[in-house]
């Protein structure tokens, strides 16, 4: 580091340079000092365990005995002989494909309604954001279970309003995943806030010009709003996709950690959890976790590559 000589001598730090600390942290010790709480957390609680799990994924670690190296055996089994991996992948992909677009559309619709200049907007914004704050909590999942159970509120409403005798949505493999999708869509708060901010960025004069030219509202939406919003849509889509892949709490609570009935809510993370903590195959679970990292990475990379064809950053 040639720039070290410019470093201003500071209190508590030896100005001579040469020390390992000095060479490492160079001229901005204060900056690194402020970074330290995060850095310690990142190295100790994220990077360290992540590397440990990478090692464990090549072992047969069972929590109680020390791990033995088994090479790529875990990965080979996942790829060739694990029907539950396939089931979990199916459930998770279906969940991502259904919940992410629905949630984004819903969030955009609400954001557009808010953007028309509502009185008391901050209040409504807060109310509509509320489910997202509660969303991943245990209490909401328990509430969902009550709502969609056989004699829950949903069936009571169906019976009173339409005379339909509904099934127990939450414990029927035909519907259980969809109740979780609804739960996810209901938590549209954070993409909505971001959409709202994005909508505010669009210059009003564009709409004025379009109005003068006689463009319909629909045409304005597709020709002005949507193209100018693409960076925000892109951001939301990537974040929500990653979140959906990692969904865990609702399925865990609603199926009591079993992913049932009949694997219908066996999210990938839940399967991973079962293997690791339920059946004590921590090595295998680590391999599953790394495969999820690769899958999420691939999806994100694909999104970024495709972005060049549909995301407009220019004004």
């Amino acid at each position: 580091m040639a720039t070290t000589s410019i470093a201003r001598p500071q209190a508590g730090v030896r100005p001579e340079g040469g020390g390992l600390l000095h060479r490492l942290f160079g001229r901005q010790p204060a900056g690194y000092l402020f970074l330290l709480p995060w850095l310690v957390g990142f190295l100790g609680l994220t990077l360290g365990p992540a590397l440990a799990s990478l090692y464990l994924s090549f072992t047969d670690y069972n929590l109680l005995e020390s791990p033995n190296w088994v090479g790529a055996a875990n990965y080979v089994r996942i790829a060739t002989a694990d029907p539950r991996f396939v089931a979990a992948m199916r459930v998770t992909l279906l969940y991502v494909v259904l919940s992410v677009p629905l949630k984004l559309v819903f969030a955009l619709l609400v954001a557009m309604a808010f953007n028309r200049g509502l009185k008391g907007l901050p209040l409504y914004r807060a109310i509509f954001y509320l489910p997202s704050l509660l969303g991943s909590s245990v209490a909401i999942a328990v509430l969902w279970r009550q709502l969609f159970a056989g004699d829950g509120l949903v069936n009571m409403a169906l019976w009173q309003l339409f005379g339909i005798e509904g099934p127990s949505w939450i414990s029927n493999p035909r519907y259980s995943l969809y109740t979780l999708v609804i739960l996810s869509v209901w938590q549209f708060g954070s993409p909505m806030i971001i959409f709202l901010a994005g909508l505010r960025q669009i210059p009003v004069d564009m709409y004025e010009a379009a109005n003068l030219d006689g463009a319909s509202k629909m045409r304005q939406f597709f020709k002005i709003t949507l193209p100018l919003l693409t960076p925000v849509i892109f951001f939301n889509a990537v974040i929500q996709t990653i979140d959906a892949f990692k969904a865990f709490t609702p399925a865990f609570i609603i199926s009591d950690g079993q992913g049932g009935p009949v694997n219908s809510t066996l999210f990938y993370t839940l399967y991973l959890y079962q293997e690791g903590f339920g059946f004590f195959r921590m090595g295998y679970a680590s391999a599953l976790a790394w495969i999820l990292v690769v899958i999420i990475g691939a999806f994100t990379a694909f999104s970024f590559l495709s972005a060049r064809y549909w995301v407009h950053y220019d004004e």
């Binding site: 109680l64 127990s168 493999p173 009591d256 009935p261 009949v262």
Partner: protein
């Protein structure tokens, strides 16, 4: 705790304030362990179970405070599924609780892996369990060493709502009835429709202890001595078919109601008022009665025929084990002894964890039994007469096979697979799990 001070002296420029702060911090840190040493010895005790069990256990912990004020016991409890997850994680993280409620299914795995402490040295010296009888002591042995102290004896049993059966005018489940008769009675109860949405019985097809008993009545077993499955596809096909028939007839709860059962007293179809009979462990009768308004009855299983074995066996419902890392071992042993061999402790726990293994303690309890307890004791007396030997402990992977049984029986219940295909699927998946270990 002088380290922070030395460190500060090393630094070139230290202000008076930072020195003072360091000294205060140092003093605070050094005060911590001392404060602890002065207080009682603190040990952690974990168990699984319902709120009722927690209330009784906490009461016993409080009572033991009078016996040994120097021991501070901190109790933690959770449901069955979470319990094993937490325990494994804590043991792996070298943060094992000192006193562990153990199950017959897991004691072998934990003991073999060195996570538990052998207790033989305390037999007769602090641990007075000689009158448990050989069978009840040996069920806590692994490889000849004692790792678990029997907390009570139980058996799988049939629980039913006495009021509902009476109201429907159907003969309630009773010892001696066959599986066919039992099915007919359940159907009759469903048809009586004393209330909308009630059924004779919960779905037993996914209940592993029930399957085990049913197999034992037919001369088979859940697991053979060599750790493989003790039955074949035809056996379990008959089992699935029996329940399929009852389900289609409406004698037992439909699939989506059965799937709400999360293997706990709280979510059982009997407690939620859907089914008027269910399978459960005999000691759980106490917890069930607590959550059910109408009076419950308790019976042995339906029989396979007059000269067939009952299939019942007396099992240690749970045991107490010490972690190999346990602190204050002698004091903890004293607490264990208080729970299983001292009238005061035994009276507080009652029969909620099973009937005490100690002959003397059974006598001690018999004076103070309430109506609910009496039913449990009567049932255990009946079962003692017809009991067959304790099966070998389940092989590793047994927990996963329980999950497979739940899943396959649900697939059959939701009609995505026939009992025949379900049987083949179950056996092949179970074999694969056992081979994987």
């Amino acid at each position: 705790m002088t380290k922070p001070g030395i460190h500060l002296h090393d630094a070139q420029s230290i202000t008076r304030r930072s020195l003072l702060a360091g000294a205060v911090a140092g003093a605070a840190f050094s005060a911590l362990p001392m404060g602890r040493a002065l207080a009682a010895e603190r040990v952690r005790f974990v168990w699984w179970g319902s709120q009722e069990r927690a209330d009784r256990t906490n009461k016993a912990i409080a009572a033991y405070k009078a016996v040994n004020p120097a021991l501070e016991i901190v109790g933690e409890f959770s449901g069955w599924n979470d319990y094993w997850t937490r325990l494994a994680t804590q043991v792996a993280g070298r943060n094992a609780p000192d006193l562990i409620q153990m199950d017959y299914r897991y004691i072998f795995e934990y003991a073999r892996r060195g996570a538990l402490m052998p207790l033989d040295d305390y037999l007769g010296k602090g641990l007075d369990i000689a009158d448990f009888g050989a069978a009840n002591i040996d069920s806590g042995r692994v490889g000849g060493k004692l790792y678990g102290v029997n907390l009570g004896v139980n058996s799988s049993a049939l629980l039913y709502d006495t009021v509902a059966w009476q109201k429907a005018g159907v003969e309630a489940p009773a010892p001696g009835m066959t599986w066919e008769q039992f099915g007919e009675r359940c159907l009759a109860l469903s048809k009586a429709k004393t209330r909308p949405g009630i059924y004779g019985m919960s779905d037993g097809s996914s209940v592993e202890p029930a399957l085990e008993l049913w197999l034992r009545q037919r001369g088979k077993s859940l697991y053979a001595d060599d750790g493989k499955l003790g039955f074949d596809a035809a056996d379990i096909e008959a089992w699935f078919s029996y329940w399929e028939e009852l389900r289609k007839a409406g004698a037992i709860v439909p699939a989506d109601i059965a799937a709400l059962d999360q293997a706990s007293i709280e979510t059982n179809a009997l407690t939620t008022g859907k089914a008027m009979a269910t399978f459960a462990h005999s000691n759980q009768f106490v917890g069930f009665q607590k959550l059910n308004k109408s009076e419950l009855g308790l019976s042995i299983y339906p029989s396979a025929g007059p000269d067939k074995p009952s299939g019942h066996y007396l099992k240690p419902s749970m045991q107490l084990s010490l972690a190999s890392t346990a602190k204050s071992v002698e004091a903890v042993i004293g607490f264990v002894n208080f729970l299983v061999a001292k009238p005061e402790g035994v009276n507080i726990l009652g029969l909620e964890r099973g009937v005490p293994a100690s002959e003397a303690m059974r006598k001690e309890l018999s004076g103070s039994l309430n109506a609910v307890d009496k039913k449990v004791v009567e049932l255990i007396a009946i079962i003692t007469k017809v009991a067959t030997p304790l099966p070998p402990p389940p092989p590793s992977g047994a927990g996963e096979i329980t999950a497979v049984l739940t899943r396959v029986s649900q697939e059959i219940a939701f009609e995505s697979i026939t009992p025949k295909d379900g049987a083949t699927k179950f056996v092949s998946e179970a074999d694969a799990i056992l081979a994987r270990g």
